[in-house]
Structures are given as structure tokens and as C-alpha cells.
Amino acid sequence: MKRKTRIGLLILVTALFAAVPLILDSENSYYVYFLFMAFTYIALSQSWNLVAGYTGQISLGLHAFFGLGAYVIAIGWGKEIIGFLDPLGMVLSGLIPAILAVAIGIPLLSKLRGDYFALGTLGLGEILRLIFIQGGALTGGSAGLMLPSSSYTSMLPYYFIALFLAVFATAVTYLMVKSSLGWALISVRDDETAAAANGVNVLKYKVLAFTVGAFMAGLCGSLQAYYLFHVHPQNFFGLNWTLYPILMCVMGGVGSTIGPVIGAVFLSAVFELAKILLPEIHPIFSGVLIVLTIIFLPDGLVRLRWFRNIFEGRKTESPINLKLFTGKEK
């Protein structure tokens, strides 16, 4: 497909989803809730996709930024600095994780070894969770912060904001990747040494991708905080907020713009079905699914031949197949 067709398709799909609340009763429909969650996951998956799929840096700390974004809203709202579904507040909830990403990213990403980054980001999530548990009155400890749930009027704003976040994350990823910036990111992923030798400021681009990813994750966290009205460390700093987006990304196809979208929608549906049909064992199910996906479908759904024929029209190489994730010693 050509670029124009792709953008046209994005607009068409967005318009279709935007029309969903016209057909379904947004207050009672389970599908609207489902789509709301799926959109959030699309945005989170794109965030991870940008960092891991295009820049090759495996972050295991999505939940750190997600939770931080949620707490920005919870604390800000409690102090009456931020209002209900306040756009400025949401931007702030993206900016603060982004600042943290710069602060933590520069030392961690300047190392040659990708493992340090994966471990460090995992540690970051854990450390933030503990700090927020210990935070006393400001963070509400392990019980978390309750927000004024009387502000809730309708599901519609949540739905549209989530849709906006999904489109925003996808568009940002697409635009970044299609620009010269994207070439820099991909060159860093494919061969760091060669990229550096060709004058690419490796650290700058790694940190940039990580920061943009953190910004998106923070935004998603703030929306969930507004939706749940109860921000507490166990949920918002839960590892599932990293695990599911990674799984969705890999399932859909790492390092392709459409992959995370497909993966997120598909897996959200699978998980919801599992929750309904197999309520007891559905977490086991997600574990099995990760293992099976990696073993049998490491390149993702978008790189299956039939899919490629429909959508891509040309062969897109999978970064996993090409051993680009090997982090091969240089």
C-alpha cells in the first residue's frame, strides 16, 4: 500500500471507531469498555514498539512510567492543581515520566550492553512501587489514593480519549519511523557500531525513543487513573502493564506500525474471552500464550504470508528473524 492509502486507512478506521458509541449504548455496552481497554493497550504497545521494536532497546519498565503518570493525576487532583480529565494535567502526567526517562535513560543507555537497560528499567518499576508504598500521606501508602468518583458522568469521554491516545501513539510512531529520525533509530537497532561510525548520535536517539515511549505510557496511566478513581501501587505498578503490551507487540509484529495495533486488539479479545470462559486459570493462559507465541510466531501476525499479501504488498523483514535483537557483541 502507498503512504496515502495507509494514512487514509488510518483515518477511516479511526472514524469507524469514533462512530461506535453512536450504535452501541456506551454506558452499558461491554464492547465499549472492551474497546476502551484495547485502545489503551494499543498506545502502550506502540510505546514499547518504538523503544524495543525500532530502537532495539528492551525496556521492562513500562509499568514504571504508567504508574507514575497515574500518580501525577492522583496527587495533582488531590492537591487541586489538576482537574477532572484535565488536558494540561494529562500532558503533565506524560511529561514527568518523560523527564524521569531522560534522567534514567542517559546513564543506563550509554552502556553498550542492552541487558543493563532491561534490568535497570525492571528495577525502576520495582523501586517506584516501593517508594509510592512508603510515600506516606502524599501517596496514600499501599492503599493508594481515592479520587472523587462523583466526577464520573459518562463513558464517552474515556472512550474518545483512549481512541485519541491510540491514534496519537500510532501516528507518532509512524511519523517518527518514516522520517529521517526513524532511519537513525533503525540503524541503532541494526548495528550500533556502524550507526555510530556513520555519525549517528546513538545515545541521543536511544534516549529520545525511550522518552517518547515514557510520555505515551504516562498518558495511558493518567487515563486509567481517571477511569478507576483509585490509584494504588499494586495495580498501577503491576508488572502486567509491561507484560501485556510486550506480548501484544510480539504477537502483532515487533518493529512494524500496524503490528501492535493488531496484537493489542487480538490479545485484548483473547484475554477477555479467557476471563469469561476460564475465570480460574486465565493468568496461566496468558503465560502459556507468551511462550507459545515466541516459539511458534516470533515474527508476529503481520509477517505471516497471507497477512503480508493483503497489507504490506512487499516483504518486511522481521527484526527477530534477522537476529537484530541478538545484541551481538561488537
Binding site: 523501586i127 493468568p283 515466541i294 516459539i295 535483537f325 541478538t326 545484541g327
Partner: protein, 298 residues
């Protein structure tokens, strides 16, 4: 807020920390071996430890088998389990690099944790033997017997693994592969075999750590993740790819934690250990006990 307690209390905390940390050390050695050859952090190590702890628990519960005696069952079973795990899950993807392996380990952790939660209920369990509360008093210090045993197990495991790596042919192959996989392959070392051996030993050590855990703590299905993290911290402190370093990292972490818990509160102790972890990763990624060579080990 800060006061200096008498020296014997400080010493007692130190000893508790050392004994405590030895267990992290056992887990970290397993991680270190797997990391050496496969270049991945086997994040499911903690879940494996808890699985072994459950094994010990059930052996005691149903067959009244002494936890330390059950090592003769747990260790071989864990080794075989590790070998099988590599063959079934990792063999296919090991070639494609470490990224898929890392994710499989992640999935395995989720799978095991939830499987244990369904099978064994999420309630935490603890072993109660005749010697659980037994302690040895020496020089005014009190040493818990079970923790001392855990420490001895850690020392034995470290010695055993070190000897294995230095004296046996397979051990030398493992070392060669960790040093440089390509050159090792050139001289006829099969990467799959080496990977499989390290997995076997790694999971075997998780089995040992599981026995040590079962005798000293109460545990639940989800405790493994924290264990993995702690083992990882121990590994980072000690320097990746060094067996003795891993044990020392574990001990250091144990001491750090027990002083942290004494001077601050339990929750902040964890924050301190994670902060130490992040700082080491940022500024001294080759570990505290490895002489810095100026260049990073690839």
C-alpha cells in the same frame, strides 16, 4: 533518629545479613551461569526456587521427609527439569538471539506463578520442623540453624560449581562459550549442549535455593519474582559471569538489607537495595568485585 546501637547488635545484624544473603547468592550463581552462555537474565529463576520450595514442602508434608534429606530428590529432579526446559522451550529460539529467550523466560515465570497459585492455593506456606526455631549461641551472638545450613549450602554450591567449571571438560566448555561463543563453536563446542548444561545446573541450584527457602521462610506462589530481582541485584553487585562474585554480591545484598531494615523500616530496606542496584548498573556495571579493566566485557 539515628543512634549507634551497641557493637554486638551491629555484629548480630551483620551475621544475619550474611546468612540471609547467601541464599540470594545461590540463586545468583544459577543466573550467572545461564547469563554466561545464553546472555539472558533468566527471570523465571525465582519462580523455579519457589517451585522447589513447594516440592520440599510437599515431600515433608506427605512423606515426612526431612527438608535437608529431600535435597537428594529435589536437586536431581531440578537438574533434569532444567535440561528438559531448555530442550522444549529454549532450543528453538536460542539461535534467534536473546530477545525471544528473555520473553520466554518472562512467560514461563507468569505461567509457573499462576500454576502454583491454582494448584497450591495462594496462601503462604511454611515448614515447621523440630529445628526450625533452633539457634546456636556463640560469643553472645545467636545464629539460626536453618540459616546457617543455607549458608553452608551456598558455600558448597559455589565451591562445587567453581570446581565443575575449572576441572571438568564440560565445565571448561561452558567457560569457553561464555568467554566467546563464536570461537568456542569453532573449536567444536556445541552451543546447544553448553546451554543445556548451564540450564541444568542453573535450575539445579534453584532447587537448592528452594530447599533453603522452604526451611527458613514462609513462601507463596508469587514470592519468586522478588527472589529473581534480588538474585539479579546480587549478580549486578558481584559482576555478571563470575561465580564467586555472585555469592559475594548476594552476601553484600543481604548485609545491606538487614542494616537497612534495622536503621530504617523494612519497606525502605528494599528501596535501598534497588537503589544500590540501579547505581551499580549505571556507574559500575562490571560489578563491585571485578577489577575494572577500562573496557566493558562484551
Amino acid at each position: 533518629m539515628f543512634y549507634l546501637p551497641p557493637i554486638d547488635i551491629l555484629l548480630q545484624i551483620m551475621i544475619n545479613g550474611i546468612l540471609f544473603g547467601a541464599m540470594y547468592g545461590i540463586a545468583a550463581i544459577g543466573l550467572s551461569l545461564i547469563f554466561g552462555t545464553m546472555q539472558i537474565i533468566f527471570i523465571a529463576q525465582g519462580a523455579m526456587i519457589i517451585l522447589a520450595a513447594y516440592g520440599t514442602f510437599w515431600l515433608f508434608h506427605f512423606f515426612s521427609m526431612d527438608p535437608y534429606l529431600s535435597i537428594i530428590v529435589i536437586f536431581p529432579v531440578s537438574v533434569i527439569f532444567g535440561l528438559g526446559l531448555y530442550q522444549v522451550l529454549f532450543r528453538r529460539v536460542a539461535r534467534a538471539g536473546k530477545f525471544p529467550s528473555l520473553l520466554i523466560a518472562f512467560g514461563l515465570m507468569v505461567l509457573l506463578e499462576n500454576l502454583m497459585s491454582v494448584l497450591f492455593t495462594p496462601n503462604s506456606r511454611g515448614l515447621r520442623t523440630s529445628y526450625t526455631a533452633f539457634g546456636i549461641s556463640a560469643l553472645g551472638l545467636k545464629i539460626s540453624f536453618t540459616r546457617l545450613m543455607a549458608f553452608i549450602m551456598a558455600i558448597l554450591a559455589t565451591t562445587g560449581v567453581s570446581l565443575f567449571l575449572k576441572k571438568t571438560l564440560i565445565g571448561k566448555a561452558v567457560r569457553a562459550a561464555s568467554e566467546n561463543l563464536e570461537s568456542a563453536t569453532l573449536v567444536g563446542i556445541t552451543p546447544h549442549k553448553v546451554n543445556m548444561v548451564t540450564f541444568g545446573i542453573g535450575i539445579g541450584l534453584a532447587g537448592l535455593a528452594g530447599v533453603a527457602t522452604a526451611t527458613t521462610y514462609s513462601f507463596g506462589p508469587y514470592f519468586g519474582f522478588v527472589f529473581s530481582l534480588k538474585a539479579m541485584i546480587a549478580l549486578a553487585l558481584g559482576g555478571m559471569g563470575s561465580v564467586v562474585g555472585a555469592l559475594m554480591g548476594g552476601v553484600l545484598l543481604g548485609v545491606l538489607e538487614s542494616y537497612g531494615a534495622f536503621f530504617l523500616t523494612g519497606g525502605w530496606a528494599d528501596v535501598i537495595s534497588y537503589a544500590a542496584f540501579l547505581l551499580v548498573l549505571m556507574f559500575r556495571p562490571e560489578g563491585l568485585f571485578v577489577r575494572s579493566s577500562g573496557s566493558e566485557r562484551p
